[in-house]
């Protein structure tokens, strides 16, 4: 075995494999850093080029790309509160507040260090656990995964802080969002509003970008705003070193969260999108005296250690049993097959050297990516001191293209993103916790699917007697009991409990107008009423689950509304607001949402390659009040990115606009139309 381990290591350092490894790291860094791109897209684009490569080079390229996206995705999460990929959603909860405090470099230092640590630990566990994987897989069936997902749902309590009812309604909202699309057991499409776009359910990326990114853009679009609201003692490299020290100081937390990442990765079907939430929730629950949600570095360390470690974990069942634990692992499995390798026992015998090549590539890529990013992101961290109005069009550009990539069709993706942007903005203004929505959306699919499979495959509920199910059930009881006890104690100590948004990525708003709060609760109630009305029209296998959730959500929502009416009657919560600040906020709101709506409406007419650059140009000229040259540079930059990167390299689908036909008639026959539309 040692011989194969050494052979595998030597193979990674041979030429051209080492060159492809570096190329994979570079591509992975870019695809992780830009919201919406993701490592999966990178792998899909690269895959055909690996067909003719030698095996070691092909895997050096693919694995390096796969490994490092969860390192570089931290950049967007910290800098602008927009998750770079689905695996870094929880990082924004403390990463972005750190940036607001001027500590972006520190957040980077901590995140990159633990990412490398988690990634290496994941790779080593991968190597050591290969022969032991079968028992884990054998005992993790649908009932066990269902119970674990329910346990994960209890994180709502942690992510809601004092606003437990609001958190519960938000989580139920998320669970209901997960029911959009096809039912598992019968041929029914639910709540698709007659559009094919929702046939696969609500895509996660536009929802997350809408809920988290757009409300922050409104804040940034105000005149004079910057991301950083403070100037800390340590910035630049000093800040980065301070973050590395934080990582070393919290090595035990990083180790525990990496272990969470590895085991979530191993279990097929749980996936990277929830691992950061689980690690974050675990850290928040177990660390006393934390300031999570307000820029606590441990809130960055926990998810970042976990999301890199999960890569090694998800490769374990793929290599040892041919069962990929994630979409990325599934693509790698396909690549193995095209190379004539046989995932399964052979990877532990005849092809053990290749298996070790994969392990070493994971180790090396994680370390190199962290070092590379520590040196390069230092400059990016300085952007937190740049006026926000200059950043907004650039961020909106990536948010729009990102949601498009995540949903595949521009108009549908933008409609979803803008709708959830408005919901996210309203939730933020009304102090409703937003993370439970995402938690519900991510876990909802798993919960319904695994519950259906458990009932159908076991012919009822006999699975409730499975040993692991009982164990997890006991864990759930203990968590609920301890939360109830804690709540009672805290209520006795401080009866008027706070109702703050735990995500300071959505920092507590300047005001929480009771009328707006009531309006939001009313809107939620209408939506739940629609579900209760619509669900019985589906067959029971498809309708019963959303109907049950809808009824529970409606009851909780009515409780909330009654409470809010009572508060309004008492005349409490009267908000004294600064009129000029409100005007500034309204104008920023209109600039962001109005601008997006215009781009969305005009794109089918003029095409995205015209409307988006024009929007960037006008925003800089009129909102940022900069000169025509700077505005033009923005517009041209946006156009060049769209044409040469999004169109020519990653081949994003562009809608054929109405002007296409007249242009074809007007322009010379050989004119490359893809320059314009």
């Amino acid at each position: 075995m040692l011989d194969q381990a050494i052979q595998g290591l030597m193979a990674v350092f041979t030429w051209p494999a080492s060159g492809f490894l570096l190329l994979g790291i570079l591509i992975g860094v870019v695809f992780g850093a830009v919201p919406g791109l993701s490592g999966i897209l990178g792998m899909i684009i690269i895959l055909p080029f690996t067909f003719d490569m030698d095996t070691v080079s092909a895997f050096a390229l693919l694995i390096a790309l796969y490994a490092v996206t969860s390192t570089s995705d931290t950049i967007a999460s910290v800098m602008i509160g927009v998750p770079g990929t689905a695996a870094s959603q929880a990082t924004i909860l403390d990463g972005y507040p750190m940036a607001k405090k001027g500590e972006a470099a520190r957040a980077f230092g901590a995140a990159f260090s633990v990412s490398a640590y988690g990634g290496v630990l994941g790779a080593l566990i991968l190597a050591l656990s290969l022969p032991l994987i079968l028992p884990i897989i054998t005992y993790m069936g649908s009932p066990e995964i269902f119970m674990i997902a329910i346990l994960g749902l209890l994180l709502v309590g942690v992510l809601s802080d004092g606003a437990l009812v609001k958190g519960a309604v938000a989580a139920l909202f998320g669970l209901l969002l997960a029911t959009v699309g096809p039912a598992d057991a019968v041929a029914e499409y639910r709540f698709t509003l007659g559009t094919d776009y929702l046939f696969e359910g609500l895509p996660l990326v536009p929802v997350v970008l809408g809920l988290f990114a757009l409300p922050e853009m409104v804040d940034l679009a105000r005149q004079g705003a910057t991301i950083a609201q403070d100037k800390p003692a340590f910035t630049g490299m000093a800040g980065m070193i301070s973050g590395i020290r934080d990582a070393i100081k919290n090595w035990w937390l990083a180790s525990k969260c990496a272990a969470i990442g590895i085991y979530v990765g191993i279990i097929p079907g749980l996936g990277a999108a929830i691992v950061d939430w689980i690690a974050y929730g675990y850290a928040k629950k177990t660390i006393k005296d934390n300031d999570f949600g307000n820029g606590d570095v441990r809130g960055v360390i926990a998810p970042e250690a976990a999301n890199n470690a999960t890569k090694g974990g998800s490769l374990l069942p793929a290599l040892a049993l041919g069962i990929p634990g994630s979409l990325g692992a599934a693509i790698l499995l396909g690549a193995l097959e095209i190379k004539g390798l046989k995932p399964g026992p052979d990877m532990l015998k005849g092809d053990l050297d290749i298996t070790f090549t994969i392990v070493w590539t994971l180790v090396i890529a994680n370390i190199l990516a962290a070092v590379f990013l520590m040196f390069t992101s230092n400059q990016i961290a300085k952007l937190i001191f740049v006026p926000g109005v200059l950043l907004v069009p650039a961020v909106l550009f990536f948010v729009m293209t990102g949601s498009w990539l995540g949903g595949n069709v521009a108009v549908g993706a933008w409609a979803v993103m803008i709708a959830f942007g408005l919901i996210g903005y309203a939730m933020r203004q009304c102090s409703w916790p937003r993370p439970p929505v995402i938690l519900g959306l991510v876990l909802g699919g798993i919960i319904e699917n695994r519950l259906t499979l458990s009932i159908n495959s076991y012919g009822g509920f006999s699975w409730l007697g499975n040993p692991i199910v009982i164990l997890v059930l006991l864990g759930i009881v203990v968590v609920i009991a301890s939360s109830v006890r804690k709540s009672i104690r805290s209520f006795q100590a401080e009866p008027a409990s706070a109702t703050s948004d735990s995500s300071s990525a959505a920092a507590p708003p300047a005001f929480a107008d009771p009328k707006t709060t009531l309006l939001l609760s009313g809107g939620m109630a209408i939506m739940f009423a629609y579900i209760i009305f619509r669900a019985p029209a589906y067959r029971p296998e498809a309708g019963l689950y959303p109907l049950t959730l809808g009824i529970v959500a409606m009851i909780l929502c009515l409780v909330l509304i009654a409470g809010q009416i009572a508060i309004m009657r008492k005349g409490a919560n009267t908000i004294e607001t600064d009129t000029s600040e409100n005007e500034g906020r309204l104008s920023a709101f209109l600039a962001v949402f109005g601008g997006l709506a215009l781009v969305a409406l005009l794109s089918p007419v003029a095409g995205l390659k015209i409307t988006l650059p024009v929007f960037a140009f006008l925003f800089i000229l009129m909102r940022a009040k900069r000169g025509i040259l700077i505005a033009a540079a923005y517009g041209v930059g946006a156009w060049a990115l769209l044409v040469f990167f999004y169109d020519r390299i990653i081949a994003m689908s562009f809608v054929e606009p109405w002007i296409m036909e007249p242009l074809e008639k007007f322009l010379p026959e050989n004119f490359p139309l893809w320059f314009i539309v």
Binding site: I40, M43, I44, P48, F51, L134, I137, Y139, M140, G141, S142, G181, P182, D184, A185, V186, A187, E188, Y189, D196, Y197, F199, E200, P268, G269, P317, L321, G322, I323, P324, L327, A330, I331, L333, G334, E337, I338, K339, G340, K342, P343, G344, P345, D346, N408, V409, N449, T452, L453, N456, S457, Y458, G459, A537, Y538, R539, A651, S653, E656, W674
Partner: protein
């Protein structure tokens, strides 16, 4: 199989001959063809598409760029609907994937395309296989026929409602009269494999690439499971099933043969008719379809290129790595026999199909 090959090769030659060469040289030069896959990346269908499309442009005069786009949703319907409605009239968009003929006949919701209006470039397919755990029988199954000794209810896993693989399990077990429960919702083959390891399910059906990637080298080699029977294509011209003797292991028969062996009579009745219909039409799973308004000259070029690519040694070398055999295929007009003829099914069989697919509101 040989007959199918002969038909397809002659069709490919005809298509090549039919392509207008002067037009062909210039039409696709410097252009980009978008191929939509109605499935997520990573599965067997996606892999086969990428392998095919790697060499496909080499056979199109002008060597255009091929761009593959995954557009999953609705069991493949979203991507196919999209190309049908918005594929345009320039010959620059194609869809690669299964036409849901059965879904159309059974009234499955969400299908907005008409296969008969699509312009088939070509289609290929490989057989499907049904496997089961050996421990279904006390002491273990010694041969595929031992499945008939199973007395208790066992669980057959399926991916999605109305899916081709799961339906083969239902059709076979219904005809054999075995007691089973069909559990749908596993969504993909990796989850099905995990479930059969965990004994959550005891049987499943898989496509040819899935058989070799997930099962042959692992569960079957270890003796945990075995291939029971395979589901070949029904050759419409020869009016009989194709055969692949011992391809999935010694003694593994085509279902039709298996049925005759254990029941002592040939398959008959509405379920058998559905099975044959399924094998003749629905089983063609990897279609390359051009949208209805594709210009005829462009279609001729694409069909000619398809005919050449499907026998290109570079393509076959890669394809065989995952599939262990070359695909059965139809090009152009021959493929239209399937895409335009799928409604040839009796009312009784159609009712049976609808019942099996469990379609319809309460």
């Amino acid at each position: 199989m040989r007959i199918t090959r002969l038909i397809t090769i002659s069709a490919a030659s005809l298509a090549i001959f039919a392509a207008p060469t002067s037009f062909a040289k210039e039409f696709y030069a410097g252009k980009r063809i978008e191929v939509f896959l109605p499935v997520p990346a990573g599965g067997g269908l996606d892999r086969n598409a990428r392998v095919f499309m790697k060499t496909f442009p080499n056979h199109i005069p002008g060597n255009p760029t091929i761009v593959i786009k995954n557009m999953p949703g609705g069991g493949g319907q979203r991507g196919i609907n999209h190309v049908f409605a918005k594929g345009g009239n320039k010959g620059l968009r194609l869809v690669w994937g299964p036409m849901n003929f059965a879904g159309i006949l059974a009234g499955l919701p969400g299908i907005r395309y008409k296969p008969e209006e699509f312009k088939p470039v070509g289609v290929f397919s490989t057989p499907f296989v049904t496997i089961a755990r050996n421990d279904l029988v006390p002491g273990g199954m010694k041969s595929p026929e031992d499945i008939m000794k199973v007395k208790d209810v066992f669980v057959n896993g399926g991916r999605i409602p109305g899916g081709s693989l799961g339906t083969y399990g239902i059709l076979s077990y219904n005809m054999l009269g075995l007691k089973y429960r069909h559990s749908i919702g596993y969504r993909n083959q990796p989850k099905l494999k995990a479930a059969i390891i965990q004994k959550e399910i005891q049987s499943l059906s898989t496509g040819n690439p899935g058989f070799w990637v997930f099962y042959a080298n692992d569960l079957i080699k270890k003796g945990t499971a075995r291939a029971l029977f395979y589901h070949p294509l029904f050759d419409l011209r020869a009016n009989k099933m194709t055969r692949h003797p011992d391809f999935y292991g010694k003694g593994v028969l085509a279902f039709e043969e298996f049925y005759a062996k254990v029941k002592g009579k040939p398959m008959a009745g509405p379920t058998a008719e559905v099975y044959k219909w399924w094998s003749a039409y629905q089983r063609w799973s990897m279609w390359v379809m051009a949208p209805p308004k594709t210009p005829a000259p462009a279609l001729a070029i694409l069909r000619a290129a398809y005919g050449k690519n499907v026998v290109d040694p570079a393509f076959l070398k890669r394809f065989k790595k995952g599939n262990r055999r070359a695909p059965d295929f139809l090009v152009g007009k021959d493929a239209e026999l399937v895409s335009k003829g799928y409604k040839k099914i009796s009312k009784t069989a159609q009712a049976e199909l609808k019942k099996i697919l469990n379609v319809g509101r309460k």
